[in-house]
């Protein structure tokens, strides 16, 4: 899978699907605000493993922003004004439209993927093979 991404055959997109309420929504918004300053993945990673981020508090997010060298004033304004609320809600609606009913849900080229990782990998490889055949033919 990594090989396919490195070789340019596949790309990976993470989309928010908020199912645990306001704490999750806040984390998603903080991540999007960090993304405004080029630190989307840093926040994404932090929300998975960093205790400060995982407190899901405003204070934790601000501390993280400071540590990442972000413009904290801009970041604060962004989260306080919920500047990415609509973007997240759009992802939410799209998730439901795409048939997501739980997390994680994977799609491959917009189609619902298998629920097991082996199944997903197999589907991605099948799709890659189809692409190669198209290019070859």
């Amino acid at each position: 899978m990594e090989e396919l991404i490195h070789s340019g055959i596949a790309r990976y997109e993470y989309r928010h699907f908020i199912i645990f309420g306001s704490a999750s929504q806040f984390a998603a918004m903080a991540t999007e605000c960090a993304g405004d300053q080029g630190a989307w993945w840093e926040f994404h990673d932090a929300y998975l493993i960093d205790a400060r981020a995982r407190s899901f508090t405003r204070a934790g997010a601000l501390e993280l922003a400071r540590d990442e060298g972000l413009d904290v004033a801009q970041f604060t304004q962004c989260i306080d004004n919920e500047e990415h609320r609509d973007r997240i809600l759009q992802m939410q609606q799209q998730a439901i439209a795409d048939g997501a009913r739980g997390t994680p849900t994977f799609l491959i080229n917009g189609r619902m993927a298998a629920r097991s990782l082996d199944g997903i990998i197999e589907q991605v490889h099948d799709a890659a093979e189809a692409v190669e055949n198209q290019e070859g033919g």
């Binding site: 790309r11 997109e13 908020i18 309420g21 997501a100 491959i108």
Partner: protein, 167 residues
């Protein structure tokens, strides 16, 4: 606690799905993905339905229970709400408090459940967090074009999309 473990494990599936080719870790992530999906299916469906309907009653109940469970079952340094912004903007939050009896009951039951499983859960959580940490630190995304929520060639013919939740 259990949900945290599930989410951490599911999160590892996310990263692994995008980046990893290690078969052992893949197997772990596969289990995580299945467990996370099965374990939360009912609540998730409620939440999704609720959002679709433009309401968030079910989601709030889940969030309430989650919040209370975390507060009750874990020694967190901070018990404050996630954010002023999130609280203010989460319109239903004020209504949440008025219907908190059911939510509190659920939260209490959940807290009891999580405390029962605390010891094995903590160990599993520690292991999963360590694993996710190693994957992230190993820099699987190094050298890849990454823009906001996307990694890889923007023109790649195959798009792997993951819908997920940090919590």
């Amino acid at each position: 606690m259990i949900r945290r473990i599930i989410v951490v494990v599911a999160a590892s599936a996310l990263i692994l799905a995008a980046c990893s080719s290690n078969s052992d870790v893949q197997q772990t992530a596969q289990v995580a993905a299945e467990v996370a999906t099965q374990g939360n299916e009912q609540q998730q469906e409620q939440a999704a339905t609720s959002y679709q309907a433009g309401e968030s009653e079910s989601t709030e109940k889940v969030a309430d229970a989650e919040q209370a469970a975390r507060d009750d079952s874990q020694d967190r340094e901070t018990a404050e709400r996630p954010s002023n912004a999130a609280d203010q903007a989460d319109r239903p939050d004020s209504a949440e408090q008025t219907q908190s009896t059911t939510g509190e009951q659920q939260a209490t039951e959940q807290a009891v459940d999580t405390e029962i499983d605390e010891d094995p859960g903590q160990q599993a959580e520690f292991e999963q967090e360590a694993m996710v940490g190693q994957i992230i630190e190993s820099g699987h995304r190094a050298g890849l074009f990454a823009n906001r929520n996307m990694v890889g060639d923007p023109d790649a013919p195959i798009v792997i999309t993951e819908y997920s939740d940090f919590l």
